[in-house]
């Protein structure tokens, strides 16, 4: 087990259902995660992130492929894997009819801690997540942000080596999200663990993950650090904000015809044109818009974002894919 890889996944495949109703959730997902980092699994709804996590946490078994977590084979020794991982599911797992401390202590005892040990660790975590004051209140009375933090604390009770966070900030308000981000980025420092985080928020992956893979339609389409990924695709994007969404199609066609523009995506009244050099392309874009009779509200040049990275590798805009995938997340999330 001397390797410094916290997770290694090789060619994982998984299909749900049979015959005509079969949904292929994973078609060969491979990646590896070094110890002690926050690793992001980024992709739109239905891309296969949750299925990957279910396999790595031993909830589900792959149809083919293999994987190790903390050096342990997930198929051969799932019981050993369960002792060294923490899993925070997308859905809440705390007991609302119990207090925060009771929730944590019970979890600790299930992992074989003595009552005293479990209480000590629970208090430590309550302190760490600043939940001490509410510790003796029923968790059903807590705010959504506090409940989410409790779920994460429960995943940490037994000092796991690898923590899986499945969409940790979905459904949180912006303030609670920012707070959760701060907590997560502190985890690898204070608890010395490896965090695998799935998210369909580009910003979240950009902020937290030191390495990430982009998953689309059951496959890894890109991997690297956020900066590497952005640098790799090169170029800039010119963003055009339109006054009226109705001009969208017309403007998109206009921009596509501008020399130097490689791709154009639309998101409501906002258009993004991929170009090799933003400053050089700008005059051409402005002239073309004017000639077409389109008056933009604003035009700006931006360095590539993860959105551009996704577009580059998946051939469609992230938000578009996210909405398309949301319809079938029930089966293949």
């Amino acid at each position: 087990m001397g390797s410094d890889l916290a997770i290694e996944a090789v060619e994982l495949t998984k299909t749900y259902g049979k015959g005509d109703k079969a949904v292929r959730a994973l078609s060969g997902v491979s990646f590896s995660v070094r110890s002690g980092v926050i690793f992001g699994l980024l992709g739109p709804n239905g891309a296969g992130k949750s299925t990957t996590v279910k396999i790595l946490t031993t909830l589900s078994t792959p149809d083919s492929g293999h994987a190790t977590v903390a050096g342990i084979d997930i198929r051969r020794h799932p019981d050993q894997v369960r002792r060294v991982i923490g899993y925070v599911s997308q859905k809440p797992a705390f007991d609302p009819i119990a207090t925060g401390r009771e929730n944590l202590v019970l979890r600790g005892r299930i992992y074989g801690m003595s009552a005293r040990e479990a209480r000590r660790r629970a208090d430590e975590l309550l302190e760490r997540f600043r939940l001490t004051e509410a510790a003796t209140r029923l968790t059903s009375t807590w705010s959504g942000g506090m409940q989410r933090k409790l779920d994460v604390a429960m995943g940490l009770i037994h000092r796991p080596r690898v923590l899986f966070l499945d969409e940790p900030t979905t459904g949180l308000d912006p303030e609670a999200r920012a707070e959760m981000w701060a907590e997560i980025s502190a985890l690898t420092r204070t608890e010395r663990l490896t965090v695998l985080l799935t998210t369909h928020y580009l910003e979240e992956a950009d902020r937290l993950a030191s390495h990430l893979v982009i998953v689309d339609r059951g496959k890894v389409v890109a991997s690297g650090s956020p900066d590497e990924l952005k640098r790799h695709i090169g170029g800039d994007s010119v963003q055009v904000e339109l006054a009226d969404e109705d001009w969208n199609g017309h403007a998109q066609r206009t921009l596509q015809a501008v020399p130097g523009v490689t791709a154009v995506t639309a998101d409501g009244s906002r258009l993004r044109a991929r170009v090799t050099n933003g400053a050089a392309a700008l005059p051409g874009v402005l002239t073309a818009l004017e000639a077409a009779g389109i008056e933009p509200v604003s035009v700006s040049v931006a360095r590539p974002s993860l959105d551009d990275v996704y577009l580059h590798h998946a051939g469609r805009a992230f938000r578009e894919a996210d909405q398309a995938g949301a319809g079938r997340t029930g089966v293949a999330a």
């Binding site: 909830l59 589900s60 369960r82 991982i85 899993y87 599911s89 007991d95 009819i97 299930i110 992992y111």
Partner: protein, 258 residues
């Protein structure tokens, strides 16, 4: 094995803690049997005068059978908490932790057994208040509780198994209601076996609720026929074991499907 017992204890404790904070739930499950006991007990007072009833008081006849029937009906809801756990992230979290899989089932069954004892004692109390008197004493009451618990375990295990397979609250409740009513009326809970139509009496001999009702009433008489009691309790025990095994199998099927 020690982990299994420890985990069963922890999970049972969790459920009992929840119950202690929402005791109204237990009272809610007693509403229906109370209606049976108070209304039927009064309405059919004179039924016990018919030959074939071993006692003159209908409430006295009715109480042990109703205790068994209540145990069965309440246990039918057992699986709903599994479905709640699946809808929340509780089940996923449980399955990614080293919780003994068997303990998840036995924890649920042990909890059901304990609540059944509480329910049964309350119903006994009401029966006594209504004038029922039993010669069987403490041993008799103990047998009634044993029958109720075995019946509860049987139906809780069945409910858990169905929950793990159908994973839908409505479907589970539908199935358990569909079973409960016919089993109740095709039994000697309300009517003495000697007075039933023959075919009902025949069907009743295969009905676990009837086994519990017959053994319970017998145990409360002054000089019980132990052969009757042992055969019924033995059948209940065997059925409880089979259902428990079935529930663990259903658990495996559920895990394979995620």
């Amino acid at each position: 094995m020690t982990t299994f017992i420890a985990h069963t204890g922890l999970l049972t404790g969790r459920s009992l803690r929840t119950l202690s904070r929402q005791p109204a739930y237990l009272l809610f499950t007693l509403v229906q049997p109370m209606v049976w006991l108070l209304l039927f007990g009064q309405l059919f007072t004179r039924i016990a005068e018919l030959p074939g009833f071993s006692t003159d008081s209908y409430v006295e006849y009715l109480t042990p059978g109703l205790i068994a029937m209540t145990a069965m009906m309440t246990a039918g809801w057992s699986g709903t908490s599994f479905i709640e756990d699946m809808e929340r992230g509780v089940m996923d979290q449980t399955l990614t932790s080293p919780v003994s899989r068997g303990a998840v089932i036995t924890g649920s069954l042990a909890y059901q057994g304990i609540t059944t004892v509480i329910q049964s004692l309350i119903m006994f109390g009401v029966g006594l208040l209504l004038g029922a008197r039993y010669a069987g004493g403490v041993l008799g009451v103990g047998i009634v509780l044993l029958c109720a618990v075995l019946l509860a375990v049987t139906f809780a295990a069945l409910s858990d198994a169905v929950a793990l397979l159908v994973r839908q609250q409505e479907a589970l409740i539908g199935i358990s209601q569909f079973l409960a009513l016919p089993l109740s009326f095709l039994s000697s809970v309300m009517m003495a076996p000697a007075l039933m139509p023959d075919w009902v009496a025949d069907v009743a001999t295969f009905n676990p609720l009837d086994w519990a009702a017959v053994a319970s009433r017998e145990a409360l008489t002054a000089s019980p026929d132990w052969g009757v009691i042992f055969s019924r309790v033995g059948s209940l025990l065997a059925l409880a074991v089979v259902m428990g095994w079935l529930a663990t199998r259903a658990f495996r099927a559920y895990q394979r499907s995620i």
